[in-house]
Point group: C2
Chain length 410, copies 2
């Protein structure tokens, strides 16, 4: 099928574009390169040396003989360009990764909150409006997040998007109803994904669009079978305080001989999925679209759940690193349970990669191989969620403790 | 108290600003005059001859000796201006009317959908981000809509914003939980108000802002005791197919001798409130704020519910007009029940104006007095909700039947 990968130069988008191309889909990467611009803004860069888009696509062509085209379009700002793209390409599907996806970045200050809301809401809404205007029947596969659910549900498993409830009726039996799972976003970024959900629900109802929303866990891992085929195809590895997810930051801390810093008690339970599985799940979602008239198809895209401190200890065991507890910059529950259904992808035959089987490869192939590129000053997470936290944190707050060894142990 | 009325030049905002000024609040009207610009775009204008902002404020000062100041700020586009305004004025409260509020306008085409989403979401989000950045404790009173609820709930009364539910538990008794009432918006405009709800919920939780969200019914009526004090203070009366709400359009059709056109069966039940009560309810909401840490305070702001055909027959009885049925441009249920709690405002002592007591005044004071200013070509509602409707409507579809009498009967 023909697929536009929106945000196809990013951490999830790039390996997904390659995976789809590899299996025979006709792929067009659409990206405004905002993620690279944010690297410039933050003075950070991927641990892995990522190539330019042009070099990436050239390498892919040289290695596989397959062509991926690239279009630089800003979905949030350039509606006319987006519409023209849909009308000229007439894709069967679009995979929509084109949103600002860091919670800490979204919380830095008003400007970053506003950018995240403006960019994410308008990108998604422009896409939906353009599909309606084009009159084309294009399946939208969107990367959402497990974070829309919030955490902790009285020991019950979180279903895939919809919840069956009973509404007490004053005059008789409770009325059964199915609702969108009530949202409890933990950051402005996560909030934008709850807004996306309502945009999808509306357009699916009013215009019979076909939409699949993937509620993804925290992605770990870096490379995929496709990105390993050439050094120029290597995927991003972010370890900075804004874009580095918890596992990557543990790996870097271990690689450079720092203690693994846990925010708060580390009792926060999160859902995880390997990047290879992201690419596989998106492909499965493309192969199993809803039909016009169906509600939004919501699928939980995660392999396993784990407490952050347990994750730290896994990394510590593999690397010999120590573990340190530091203040939590987020406003969040310190201890929560998290049970999540992932029945849909399992029903499609998915066999998830788990941390126990894949983690050592990350330590050796990424953290140790590229550790000498690490900029130690970028590891701390410095975004604080509220004014109380900004007022209350100790001077010099950061999650690399002062006096930690400065030598690199790789 | 000191109150900024955002959107204070509009249909609800203007009489509210006067009402608050009249009772002694210090009022600043903040408006980018977008509603007047949209009149230009549509080639429509208020039936009542509204004065410029400057003349309005001069008249108010002359009549009452009170001063209302005006600031032209675009909340969605000019964040710096908004923040500077909050920091210099340091208001106790803001009343937020500053959103595009017509459902048909929001459905005209992609451009209007996009404007409505971009404007409404960014206006609300900028306001919340600016309040957080200012560090001020400002009570936000927002005009939402009954339309976020959707219509029809198995004969049950719609509560004020929150719903007590039971979640069936696999291992025991159902778990009770309170959730935001599930939304079923009927247009892109209504959808933006469901997005607003999530923005409020997030900022109230993360930053302990104080927010009251008023879920308002369809407003009818034109003038208030304050707007009647001088001709230059007269409020808007919109009767065009985009901004004219159902009652105003019936009144104009009756005034000019046309049949009252009902979209579909007229079995749609809607909630109504008089403009005088809008101003009173907003004042009561200002006087009864939540405290920091409270959830969003949601209040239903409506006096009564009525089927559209019953409304038509009320107008027909008063005016002698005929009633005609035309195709429904909206994608909506044709027959629905609607029961709505309005316990909060009743508990504050509110005695609502009803259609049975106030409607005749509208017929005589507005429709007959200003009927000669009516542009007949503006009455039809021409926005269609979906491509199926655009494809399926008969040629020449409009809600003034061809051959209707062209003479004006006032």
């Amino acid at each position: 099928m023909k697929v536009l990968v929106l945000g196809g130069d990013g951490f999830c988008g790039w390996p997904t574009a390659l995976h789809l191309s590899d299996r025979g889909d006709e792929v067009v990467v659409v990206d405004n390169l905002s993620r690279r611009a944010i690297d410039q803004e933050l003075g950070a860069e991927s641990l892995t040396p990522i190539a330019t888009v042009s070099d990436r696509l050239t390498a892919w062509h040289e290695v596989t003989g397959k062509e991926i085209r690239f279009r630089n379009v800003d979905l949030a700002q350039d509606y006319a360009g987006l519409l023209a793209l849909l009308e000229s390409e007439r894709p069967d599907a679009v995979v929509h990764f084109a949103e600002q996806r860091s919670a800490p970045y979204s919380m830095k200050d008003s400007g970053h909150k506003r950018y995240t809301v403006d960019n994410n809401v308008n990108a998604t809404h422009n896409l939906l409006a353009a599909i309606v205007e084009s009159g084309l029947d294009i399946h939208v596969v969107h990367l959402g997040t497990m974070g829309v659910y919030g955490y902790g549900t009285a020991g019950m498993e979180i279903p895939e998007g919809y919840l069956d409830i009973l509404i007490p009726h004053p005059d008789g039996d409770p009325v059964a109803q199915e609702i969108l799972y009530p949202t409890h976003p933990g950051s402005v970024y996560h909030m934008t994904k709850t807004l996306d959900q309502l945009l999808f629900a509306y357009y699916v109802k009013n215009d019979r669009l076909r939409v699949t929303d993937l509620h993804q866990g925290i992605v770990w891992g870096t490379n995929t079978p496709e990105t390993k085929r050439d050094d120029r195809l290597v995927n991003r590895f972010d370890y900075d305080g804004d874009y580095g997810t918890v596992l990557n930051r543990f790996l870097m801390q271990a690689a450079v001989g720092y203690p693994l810093t846990i925010h708060g008690t580390g009792g926060q339970t999160r859902a995880f999925i390997h990047i290879v599985d992201t690419t596989k799940c998106v492909a499965m979602a493309l192969d199993n679209p809803p039909v016009p008239g169906d509600r939004v198809k919501i699928i939980n895209q995660q392999a396993e759940t784990l407490r952050v401190r347990d994750l730290a200890h896994k990394v510590a065991e593999l690397t010999g690193a120590e573990v340190a507890y530091v203040p939590d910059p987020r406003k969040e529950d310190q201890e929560n349970d998290l049970l999540v259904s992932h029945a849909t992808f399992l029903s499609y035959g998915w066999q998830p990669i788990t941390l126990d089987t894949g983690l050592m490869m990350e330590v050796t192939e990424i953290a140790r191989r590229y550790g000498d590129r690490c900029d130690l000053s970028k590891i701390p997470a410095r975004s604080l969620w509220t004014k109380e936290q900004r007022a209350g944190v100790p001077a010099g707050y950061e999650d690399v403790p002062e006096g930690a060894p400065a030598t690199v142990r790789v």
